[in-house]
């Protein structure tokens, strides 16, 4: 089966700001793919090019076999995709049910309105005017509007931003449920744990480029394969005196030793200290968390060209 989305060498600038600089990826049918990255990384720009809202400067894009920039096929494509945009905007004076029923009328074979209300976690709010919904409930309605047309492909731009932790879990549950129905999903997020909880594959974006990609386990695994041993350097000794070789001393006075064989390395270090009657104060052994991996990836990429870094 052909891929649901293919993107190759996609680029887009806004004046001098090069928001997307030649990215490529594919999303298979039924797959959940996450674009992960900090503010201004170019996630929304990428998504909105795929959704047909924005033009592109260079590269090839195909969504369910269509070019989203082609106006002639726009309606057919939109009948098959669902969109949850980054900003919330819903008609304030209609009720939840009316809003969903209105949009259902736009699609040839919509989902049942009651079913979507249940799916989006809006049961009991059917007759509430949209203006009286809390921010999180509005976002759920937004999600419901993305689902109402029973799409083959769903775009979610930061679907859980502004959710409380339990609403976030609920939203994850909805997304997993959709995967069960065979819906392909492309989502963006700032949160590593969200990408890890939902996505089959992740691309980490920073400064308009994809700086890492893989399954959530791969991404986490790359650097967490290395254990990190940290301790305060004994007085009168330099990092170069250590038997294992060590990175420089950090601002907090701790040295870090990275190793893929922590048992041996630790033995060498403690042996070295005991031989000299020293103690290794504040000794810890740990592995970088996913969050550390993510910060490492996006931090270095952004630092490569500080001029073009967004302050949004």
């Amino acid at each position: 089966m052909p891929d649901a989305i293919t993107v190759s060498e996609l680029a887009r600038s806004y004046g001098a700001v090069r928001a997307v600089r030649g990215i490529s990826f594919t999303v298979g049918r039924g797959e959940i793919f996450a674009l992960l990255g900090p503010n201004g990384a170019g996630k929304t720009t990428t998504l909105e090019i795929l959704e047909g809202f924005r033009g592109r400067d260079a590269g090839q894009v195909e969504v369910l076999g269509f070019d989203p920039a082609d106006r002639a096929t726009g309606r057919v494509l939109r009948e098959r995709i669902g969109l949850v945009l980054q900003d919330i905007a819903v008609e304030p004076y209609l009720t939840v049910r009316e809003t969903l029923a209105r949009n259902a009328g736009y699609y040839p074979a919509p989902r049942d309105v009651g079913e979507v209300i249940a799916l989006a976690g809006l049961a009991g709010q059917e007759r509430t005017k949209v203006r009286n919904l809390s921010g999180g409930l509005k976002r759920r309605l937004d999600l419901g509007l993305g689902l109402i047309g029973d799409p083959d492909l769903l775009f979610l731009d930061e679907p859980t931003t502004g959710f409380d932790p339990s609403a976030r879990r609920d939203a994850w549950q909805i997304v997993r449920g959709l995967r069960g129905c065979g819906t392909t999903i492309l989502l963006t997020t700032h949160y590593m744990d969200e990408a890890q909880a939902l996505a089959d594959r992740v691309a980490v974006m920073s400064g308009g480029r994809i700086v890492a990609r893989g399954t959530p386990a791969d991404l986490g695994g790359r650097d967490s394969a290395q254990a990190r041993i940290r301790f305060a350097l004994p007085r009168g000794y330099a990092a170069a005196d250590l038997p294992t070789g060590a990175t420089a001393v950090a601002g907090d006075g701790l040295v870090t030793v990275r190793t893929s064989a922590p048992t041996e390395t630790l033995h060498q270090l403690t042996g070295w200290a005991l031989d000299r009657g020293l103690t290794l104060d504040r000794l810890t052994v740990d592995r970088p968390s996913l969050e550390d991996v993510y910060l490492g990836l996006t931090g270095t990429a952004a630092a490569e060209d500080p001029v073009e870094r967004s302050d949004r």
Binding site: I88, A89, K129
Partner: protein, 260 residues
């Protein structure tokens, strides 16, 4: 093939009807928009009724009584409000808060969305005119005589002023500026077109005759009170302005709040 086409067009027809219903629902639910659209013209015609109710036929009002003159001109200005002003403001607000972009995210075709709005504006205009004619009747103004000509003028005028409203919404970027821009264009036009005071200046009348408001006033005056039927030149000028507005709208209209 032809059955498929007819099925598709039946679906489109149902779609437009669906859109009109929800456009109406949103409007009537919003207390502000419903209030301002109807209250202003009704207050004006009631005030004029109280002030000029006793002013009989005079050459100043082209041989009509004051209220016979004002019922059609205030009806015209209420259509301007319901179509031109309302659309320009509603569309720029909806664009700014992202609601237009949401519409664009669905398969609803642009033409169906705009047909829904046009039908909505027409409904509001008809209600407005009925209210104004009703108040006029209370002050003894006879009902309009030439319904067909009045209907033709109304439909053409409403469509043209809707097109101009969309054009203005296409040109202004900022929703906060919309009411000011709308009034800035409308006020002098309404004034020189004799809406509130008959203009007895050949030069001014000729200039205003080529702008959109006066021809609409004249078309309603002719069919409501003067029994002169359809004036093709007036309708032609209206149509030309409507077409110009539609061109600007098609060329410049944006759904996205952000440029790009």
């Amino acid at each position: 093939m032809s059955t498929a086409t007819s099925r598709a067009s039946r679906r489109d027809l149902a779609l437009v009807w669906h859109q009109i219903r929800y456009e109406q629902l949103s409007f009537w639910r919003n207390p502000q928009s419903a209030f301002f659209t109807f209250v202003f013209p009704v207050v004006i015609i009631t005030l004029f009724g109280a002030m000029f109710g006793g002013v009989g036929r005079s050459s100043y009002f082209y041989g009509l009584s004051a209220l016979q003159y004002y019922v059609p001109t205030i009806a015209a200005v209420s259509v301007l409000g319901a179509c031109y002003s309302q659309l320009a403001i509603v569309l720029s607000t909806r664009r700014q808060n992202g609601m237009l972009k949401r519409v664009r995210a669905t398969p609803l075709p642009a033409w169906a969305y705009f047909l829904g709005l046009l039908a909505h504006c027409l409904v509001v205009s008809v209600v407005d005119i009925a209210l104004i004619v009703g108040v006029g009747r209370l002050f003894g103004v006879p009902l309009p005589t030439q319904w067909a000509a009045a209907g033709a003028a109304l439909v053409l005028g409403a469509a043209s002023f809707c097109a101009l409203g969309v054009a203005v919404a296409s040109v202004i970027r900022n929703a906060e500026a919309a009411p000011a821009v709308v009034q800035l264009v409308l006020f002098p036009l309404v004034f020189i077109s004799g809406t509130y005071l008959p203009i007895h200046s050949g030069v001014l009348d000729r200039i205003a005759g080529w702008l959109p408001v006066r021809p609409f006033n004249q078309a309603l005056l002719g069919s409501f009170a003067q029994h002169t039927g359809v004036d093709w030149k007036d309708l032609g000028v209206l149509l030309a302005w409507g077409a110009a507005g539609a061109l600007v709208a098609v060329w410049r209209f944006r759904w996205d709040p952000r440029a790009g």
